[in-house]
């Protein structure tokens, strides 16, 4: 049994925000959850839905480790609250493989050793999947520029670019 908490000091209780029910379609499955308005989408995914594949690297929108797809667009999930995404379709790294077959970007990341420690990898891969569907990247310099919101401290950038090129080339008819 857990120890009983320390006696609360006299005075009024400081209340915390009331929980609101939201529905998110995460990786194709409708999930209903009650969260306080101050819960980010990132923390909702990790702490409430158990989807820890999405990583927290800064909580400030500076590193891109928490990148997920919301209605097909890549966003930093630390920069939005779960309650703001009520009704949205969210795809995380756990939702990219289908029936055990890796997404071409995931496979390309393995083939090109586009990661070392793996802490930025989920964000890199989600970001790259969106990059491909955006269709804006035409050159290697475009890829570098459009992937610069995703930091990799291990320094795998050249391999990340090579992996994305492979996925781009194989994705073409």
């Amino acid at each position: 049994m857990a120890r009983t908490r320390r006696k609360r000091p006299s005075g009024e209780t400081i209340s915390t925000p009331e929980k609101i029910t939201v529905t998110l379609t995460v990786n194709g499955v409708a999930r209903e959850l009650a969260v306080a308005p101050w819960v980010t989408l990132l923390d909702a995914l990790r702490d409430r839905l158990g989807l820890t594949g999405t990583k927290k690297g800064c909580d400030h929108g500076q590193c891109g480790a928490c990148t997920v797809l919301v209605d097909g667009r890549r966003i930093n999930s630390c920069m939005t609250f779960a309650v703001m995404q009520d009704g949205a379709e969210v795809t995380t790294v756990e939702g990219l493989a289908h029936n055990g077959a890796l997404h071409p970007v995931q496979q390309a990341f393995i083939d090109h050793d586009a990661f070392q420690c793996g802490a930025c990898t989920s964000g890199q891969i989600c970001s790259a999947v969106a990059l491909l569907s955006e269709g804006r990247a035409k050159t290697v310099d475009d890829i570098r520029e459009l992937m610069s919101g995703n930091l990799c401290r291990c320094g795998a950038y050249p391999n990340i670019v090579a992996a994305i090129r492979q996925a781009m080339e194989r994705g073409q008819p």
Partner: protein, 733 residues
Amino acid sequence: MAYIGTATSRVDGRAKVTGAAKYAGDADAPGLAYAAIVTSTIAKGRIAAIDTSAALRAEGVLDVLTHENRPRMARRASAYKDDVAPEQGSPFRPLYDDTILFSGQPVALVLAEEWEIARFAAALVRVEYEAEPSVTDLKLQREHTFEVEQPHQPRGDADKAYAAAAVRHEAEYFIPIEHHNPMELFASTVLWDGDGKLTVYDKTQGVQNVRNYLCSVFSMKPDEVRVLSPFMGGGFGSGLRPQFQVTLAVLAARALERSVRLVLTRQQMYALCYRPATIERLALGATQGGTLDSISHEAIAVASQHEDFSRNDTGWSGQLYKSANAKYAHRLARVDLPTPADMRAPGATTGVYGLECAMDELAIALKLDPVELRLRCYSDRDQHEDLPYTSKKLRECYQQGAAAFGWDKRNPEPRSMRDGGELVGWGMATGVWEALQMEAAVRIALTANGHAEVSCAFSDIGTGTYTIVAQVAADQLGLPLDNITVRLGDSTLPQAPVEGGSWTAASVSHAIAKTADEIRKELWQLAKKMPNSPLAASRLEEVALVDGRIIAKNNGGGGVPMTDAMRHGQLDRIEQETTNSFKEDKKHARNTHSAIFAEVKVDEELGVIRVTRVVNAVAAGRILNTKTARSQIMGGVVWGIGMALHEETLVDHTFGRPMNANIAEYHVPVNADVHDIEVIFVDEPDELINPLGIKGVGEIGIVGVAAAIANAVYHATGKRVRDLPITLDKLLP
């Protein structure tokens, strides 16, 4: 050997690209409580009062721990010394008493039902301090230093030789504080098992180091604490020592008798540890012919008030280049900051930066090509002890690196090369690191289905340890790679030191080889006993494990399948555990070397610098995996680019606190900063260093890179910037 030396993809790749790999902050437990820390806003002094009443009144708050009410922890400072703590000094003791040693020090720990509540309530804690004047500026403290003992003895009379030298160069080079900034936030999840036993998922490079530390601090027995770090989101040295989040998370779990997770914020990680700001003072005296007569290298680095951290910055100079006279000094300046720590190739990254910029300046004074100067000063022997190397293919690094880069097309004149509106600069430098090997044990369990589990307490911090362990084991056991399962990062597994210093590959590989040899012996004994065994008359020396079979090498490949031998012996499982052993060899020096060639393009009007090409030619013995080893070197080069151009922790010396404690204003290289990087592994067979000829590659990739870039910036612009990072303001007139 089927797998060693190949470009095998990471065996943990699928776990990492699908999000299945679990890191310290990902572990879950029923009834998990969340912790948030409150940190000091002063750099020196004491806590006068802490008011936690408002925090405790917040709905969902479970408790607030401070030095006044925390559970018991060890009194003795020595109880907090971990396996890799500096010898001199007393480690920081989190939440121990009212003393403030640095800004950002944890002073209270808020525990709540949810992370958001803990963070909110942390903002309600009120702390009053009695502040004392603090000092954090190395340049102010450099007159108040003390010398620390260095591993290498001076030779000859460096001062006299310098005074008499025909050509002299003397200068100071500066490296600011840099932070490791691994992508993963430091985190610990402590699982309360109900009977007082703890399972701790910790972000660490050394699970057994953390276990021993926790046992010592909390008076627990080794079987009461299990520390796990199956995946680690980057360490680079920051996770070698137990960091304060693990101490605090365990305190919290013991206070609540409940599972607790503590994840630091990025900002809070700036109070963990860092690469010390260092002044490197070089004096080189040479003959007109371009040989060295005198090397003097002095380093002055920051240290905390409570621990004397230092590494070998200066000895590389006198080891690498031939000079009859050499001397070294390493001084520390105390500041009111946390204790510095190892950070990728500690000592060499900073010391060799100074040395290799100084060599470039000397080459200019001598009107010599920088590669030619290094060849004239080349030494086939370690200059400290006058010993031959087990292997040293640095000459080949220069040759192959220069050829791949196109160095022969370089116009030596600064500002002579252009690409459109940009100035082009080409620079080079040498890199050097140690080839270390440590005691470590490995257990192999071979099952009758031809599958082996290989386990060791080493962690894979992103370096690729899982993969090389699988490769080496597959080769040594004669099994397909897919039949090998690797378990790492668990304190209950066979003994291993912290993962660092580039020693893991050599250490673990030889533990595998020795253990596999015991398995081979046992299988051979089983095989001999089989009816009509083709191995009946064989001797152990001629028996090998190949393609799932036990064969006698001179027997035309005839042999027995391992699985048959085990079944015949009615064994489901063969298990062996051994500790590696290396022959002592005091007659050879052991090092890795590299030659780095860099191209920069500089926008003259704006001062913007781009590193457009880097070739890093590395001699590091046998390369176990050309894919992951290349990534290690590439990562080192990216770190070198950051060190040269971006990275600097800016401390507000009035408050003694980092001003850019986040990953947007502390600049690390982004994708667009990194262009072409070519890695060359020079063939370096080494039969002396260890049976498999392994040297390790984690550190060598960064050493020398910042110098090559700084030298290229000089070549492009004609302006010598010795203070890192080379930001554009330093290039503007």
